[in-house]
Amino acid sequence: MRTSHLFIRVLKILGLGAYFTFALGPIIWIAMMSLKNSNDVIASPPKFVFTPTLENYKAITVGQHAQHVETLRPDYPKYFLNTLIIASATVVVSLLLGTFAAYSLARFSFRFKEDIAFTFLSFRFAPELMVILPLYIVFQKTGLNDSYSGLTAAYQLVTLPFLIWVLRGFFEDIPREIEQAARVDGYTWWGVFRKISLPLVKPGVAAVVILSFIFAWNNFIFSMILGGERTQTITLGILGFIGYERVLWGQMAAATMICVIPELILAFFVQNYIVRGLTFGAVKG
């Protein structure tokens, strides 16, 4: 009995070890890569031991030239800023549009309610290009291509259904009787919404905002097709380090780290809501 227990424990530890090596190995490798100089990066076989340098980070942020290696013009800060602008604007617009819709879908019963709700959801399950390609043509005609406002509008497809569904779940979690109590206490529905419902879903809203921001930040396909030189986002920028004529692994790694670290920090704040968010509120984790 005892020995088999021990055996199972060892097996468990081995299993977890294997999985987490697989899960974290690539990130650690990229982090290491971002600290390698241009020779170490392309060393074959790859180097595990090297002298760390920040030259990749310098190259992509302030454009400092490293020895013998051509660097891109440091567009990276611009991409970063672009993404920041578009993702923030997207979240703000979604929040303005979505909060009331979520509340209304959570609290009131009206005709077509479930149909409307499912239509929102169905965009989550549609192939992105199905909407983006025609949108591209519409944008070309209206001149919205490569504009912040155009991208912000298009990004609603990423964040709005998500925000509505998850927030709806949070509103549904408020016991109905609490709102009824406030009605009886003499408040209009608007007063109840402002004084009771909204404060109670505050943590939910915070989580939804952060997750929406991350999703917008991570998006690639929208900005690839609908964006352009002016509005190029960070994901597209990172892809740009790998071209036909040159491959800048080290700078790509550094750009990746800069792109990823802020959102990982954000994600850790809302990790308790992540399952709920990723399943559109289906699992209340």
């Binding site: 790859p46 509340y103 479930e114 192939p127 199905m130 990172i238 990746t256």
Partner: protein, 300 residues
């Protein structure tokens, strides 16, 4: 508390029009999205060529018929399903397995659970690039280098049509298995404790309990993971675009990628939209069926 959401009917609103008024802005945004969607469906019936925007002709079902006759379509079609099927099965198994290992408390388990979310929070396109580096052919790639310690000959991974799809599956599993793990973990943690204690007192073995209690109780989780992962992997785009771009030699061309080639690379908007419409239709059917199944298993 962990649990599943069930939608319940709600009583009447203060004013009949209020709910519509509140939903209206979002609904308008929705219509803004629906318009291009409808436009896209219309394009499938035209010979729209991107370079000749002035010359759009209605051609009926010609695009569909032509495409269904090509081998390319059916190759992309089956490739899409092979990819999605393998990914879903591997992620379900891996997800349940790792979740079972992470279920019980032990020192450090909280840290491990938080580290889990990392791959999911990184932009998929960036994850794919990271893996492209790791899977570099010859000894330059770190994976090949590590494998060489156990006398494994270097593999071209993404560069070889024999292993390209497998490489993509590895990348997808890397990104999304945490999703399955987290859902299974939430499911396992919300399992009622008492039936297990009752089974223990009744004298059941661990395997017996897993088969008779755990697996049936996790059905909602299994359906949910399948729903999200199946749909998302049917419409996979980012990771293929970042790594193989469909290559080598068309070994990784899925419906989504093919539609991109048709519409953007070869300017054949009409044909591209047909691919997309087929893909959309598949996603729609599966999402509808699985979400219905999910409500059903929730009602049990």
């Amino acid at each position: 508390m962990t649990g599943y959401a069930l939608r319940t009917q709600s009583p009447n609103p203060p004013h009949r029009s209020l709910p519509y008024l509140l939903t209206l802005p979002a609904l308008l945004a929705l219509i803004g999205i629906l318009y291009p969607f409808v436009l896209g469906v219309y394009y499938t019936f035209t010979n729209y060529i991107l370079t000749e925007p002035g010359n759009i002709r209605f051609v009926g079902l010609t695009n569909y018929i032509e495409i269904f006759k090509t081998l390319d379509f059916w190759k992309a079609f089956s490739l899409t399903f092979v990819f999605a099927g393998s990914v879903v099965i591997i992620e379900l198994a891996l997800g349940l397995g790792v979740a079972l290992l992470l279920k019980d408390a032990f020192p450090g388990v909280r840290i491990l659970r938080s580290l889990l979310i990392i791959p999911m929070m990184i932009p998929p396109i960036v994850s794919a690039l990271m893996w492209k580096v790791i899977l570099l052919p010859t000894d330059q790639g770190v994976l090949n280098h590590i494998l060489s310690f156990v006398r494994f000959p270097p593999i071209a991974w993404l560069g070889d049509s024999a292993t390209a799809l497998l490489s993509l599956i590895i990348i997808d599993v890397w990104i999304y298995s945490p999703f399955a793990i987290l859902i299974f973990l939430a499911g396992l943690q919300s399992l009622p404790k008492e039936p297990y204690e009752a089974a223990k007192v009744d004298g059941a073995s661990g395997w017996f309990m897993f088969r008779k209690l755990t697996l049936p109780l996790l059905t909602p989780c299994i359906v949910l993971v399948t729903l999200f992962r199946l749909i998302d992997s049917l419409k996979v785009f980012d990771i293929i675009y970042a790594t193989t771009k469909g290559g080598p030699a068309g070994a990784t061309v899925t419906l989504h990628i093919q539609s991109y080639f048709e519409a953007i690379r070869w300017f054949r908007m009409g044909r591209g939209m047909v691919y997309l419409f087929v893909l959309w239709f598949l996603c729609f059917i599966f999402s509808k069926a699985l979400s219905r199944l999910w409500t059903k298993v929730l009602m049990r």
